[in-house]
Amino acid sequence: MKMSKQFLFTLMTTILLIAMLAACGEQSAQPTPQAEPVQEEPAPEEAVGAEEAAPAEEESSEAGEEIIIQHWYHQYGEDGTFEAAQRYAAEYSEQTPGVTVEVNWVPGDYFAALNAALLTEGGPDVFELQTADIARVKAGQLEPLDSLFEGVQDDFNATALSRVTVDGKIYGVPMIIDPQLVFYRKSALEEAGIEPPQTMDELIAAAAALDTGRVKGLYLGNDLGSASYLLYMSTFAAGTTMLDGNTVAFNTDQNIKMWQKKQELAQSGNLLVGAPTEWWDPSALVDGLAHMQYIGLWATPGMLAAMGDDLGVMPWPAVDDSAQPAVFIGGWNQSINANSPHKQAAMDYVKWLWIENTDIQQDWNLSYGFHVPPRKSAATSADPLKSGPAAEVLQLMDEYGATPSVLWTGAMDSAYIDAHSEVLLNGADPTEMLNQAQTAVQAELDSLLNQ
């Protein structure tokens, strides 16, 4: 058969095309992921005691070879944070020969991007999480970091540590603590002649009283308060938690009542809707679109600058007199990819950055927005947090602060938040929705613990 020139030409073009693609692929995916199929490590099949994932990986040859540590952050709203993160990375890279840290600043859907990346060989070495939840630990995504805490464990805020501790092992280093509450304009409440609300009924009344038409009473976000942290906070303020050991705890009469009250609030027309920014941005309060706003400590510098003494803060009101108000304690931690080829180098980096370097911790926590440093020694010496609303926040945090357990995973969040959104946005029945959520979450919990 004739080997026609055309055939050869076609063949060559195809080969050339593939070669070019491969070259492009190499260039843009640094560090280069291997082309062979990923060898997945089977999720540990033991019972609740989650052990370390596969036997420790070999470190890639250290001698003379440049190690690049991929460090992922979610996008922070405050100005200057990106530059700061890069600065720390540059500092470490300079003083550590053979190691360079690359910062990846992820806007938008951080968790979806992270999850996809963790499935492959080219995933980040160091990354942020909010809690080191049990699902991730079981899947062997996180490296135990107990060794980094030797001698300093007591100096860390207990609540913050509880968010990263699974079965007695620590899987993340707390970086910042974010208490969330409701901030308000004092003068507005005074004018309307009302005290800061302590219960949900008082909150509903306050929102109505403060609604002048042009300025709304309360801002919970454009989704009327469906966001996860507010949901947790209101659960605590209903006198219960989300999980109690191995069972769902949020389906109580008190919580049903809380959801009813929140539904009332959402349908009252006193909530600000269609604001140009979301609840995590203080513009609604500062620009006078609403008199009260659900937001966290981080926005305090901007709010203080604009409102000065007029800034007041209060915890989320209790469902009624039988419960206590609540403050949500959130925050971000740094974890290490258990499948990273540079685990030891990554651990050294994280230790330097978040445990040894108290200057950096102070800077990160206080220079751009306000967060509570997770190290007690750093927190007590943090001057900006010693006065004004910031100090109040710390007090309220100590008194009423709470956080979800590490058994709470993203999938449970989906179920719980969706049920809640149905109540707030689509007028669904709280009892029915809580039942639905309970079924879904219990199912998740069961399958997780029975693995």
């Binding site: 076609t10 979806a112 454009n222 809707v273 993203g410 969706d418």
Partner: protein, 322 residues
């Protein structure tokens, strides 16, 4: 024709076999790459996903723990998945005829103008160059944003003297549907209009002339008895394409209503209108439940194939008419 005798036959046969073998090789050279690609990126994924859907696969894509039909059962019991199915069926039933009518209407209008056909045709077709993402940006951040500075709100004010409305966040009445539907109409009608135009221009003028002789002017009558029946093939293709696209809605819903769900920082407006694909994206990529996500995707794909086959049976796939 060649005279046949035994030696000639043998030679002929050998020649035929040779040609057949050459043809086989040529066939695979030509069609092979596509087949390989389809195998790799369509059929193997379907099989793999199908297999994975019988396993418990969280935070991993490798099947390790067999759980039988659990994923499917859980999905069918899942009110959220059910809601998304109901939603997309209702949505399709609405949007497909509307888009069909609008595209056909535009085609008829453009076709009946003698001057400027090119201009109008281009104008309605331009949105095709725009992506769903960019259109969502315009719709969400400018056309229908809730501020007084929004375009729609400006019109409300200047024409009706009405106050600004939060289009996307108002649930009573559900104004966000206006946003979602108009964006899809804008993006899609032009393309289908072109298809209809091509179909319209195939209809021989003689038919209309004959009708005119019989006293029927161009108008509803000619449309009903000449135009529409002759557009049958086109209509069927259009309906099928529209339906397949509608059921796979993702882009504008996710961009306008938000990523939402899970430990995402954004809130929960997604629940207002959540098509199955958006829900499955959450299940797979935010909840990291790949087994369940695969099961759900399989159900959706099966649903679409089923409806396609059904429509084929009922309406016919549209044979070429000679």
């Amino acid at each position: 024709m060649a005279v046949q005798n035994s030696t000639y036959d043998t030679a002929n046969l050998a020649q035929k076999k040779n040609r057949a073998r050459r043809d086989a090789l040529s066939f695979w050279i030509f069609v092979g790459p596509l087949v390989i690609g389809l195998m790799l990126f369509v059929y193997i994924p379907i099989v793999w996903g199908f297999i994975l859907s019988f396993f418990e696969a969280r935070n991993t894509v490798s099947p390790t723990q067999y759980v039988g039909l659990t994923n499917y059962i859980e999905l069918f019991k899942d009110p959220r998945f059910f809601d998304s199915l109901v939603m997309i069926i209702a949505y399709s039933i609405f949007i497909v005829p509307v888009t069909f009518a609008l595209s056909l209407g535009l085609a008829l209008l453009v076709n009946s103008v003698s001057r400027g056909q090119g201009f109008f045709r281009t104008t309605f077709f331009i949105p095709v160059a725009c992506s769903y993402v960019i259109a969502s940006v315009v719709w969400k951040m400018s056309l229908f944003n809730g501020l007084p500075s929004g375009f729609a709100n400006n019109i409300l004010w200047w024409v009706f003297g009405a106050n600004p409305v939060a289009w996307i966040n108002t649930t009573d009445p559900p104004l966000y549907w206006i946003v979602l539907v108009t964006v899809r109409l804008w993006l899609q009608t032009g393309f289908y209009m072109i298809i209809f135009l091509a179909g319209l221009q195939e209809i021989p003028h003689s038919l209309y002339e004959a009708a005119a002789v019989d006293g029927a002017e161009r108008g509803w009558k000619t449309f009903r008895y000449i135009t529409f029946p002759l557009l049958r093939n086109t209509s069927i293709s259009v309906l099928l394409l529209l339906f397949i696209e509608a059921v796979q809605a993702f882009d504008e819903f996710r961009n306008i209503l938000g990523g939402g769900g899970g430990t995402s920082i954004a809130g929960g407006t997604q629940i207002l209108a959540r098509p199955p694909l958006v829900y499955l994206y959450n299940v797979a990529f935010q909840d990291q439940n790949y087994g369940r996500g695969a099961a759900g995707a399989f159900i959706i794909a099966a649903l679409i194939v089923l409806v396609t086959v059904l429509q084929g049976r009922i309406l016919g796939f549209g044979k070429r008419e000679y």
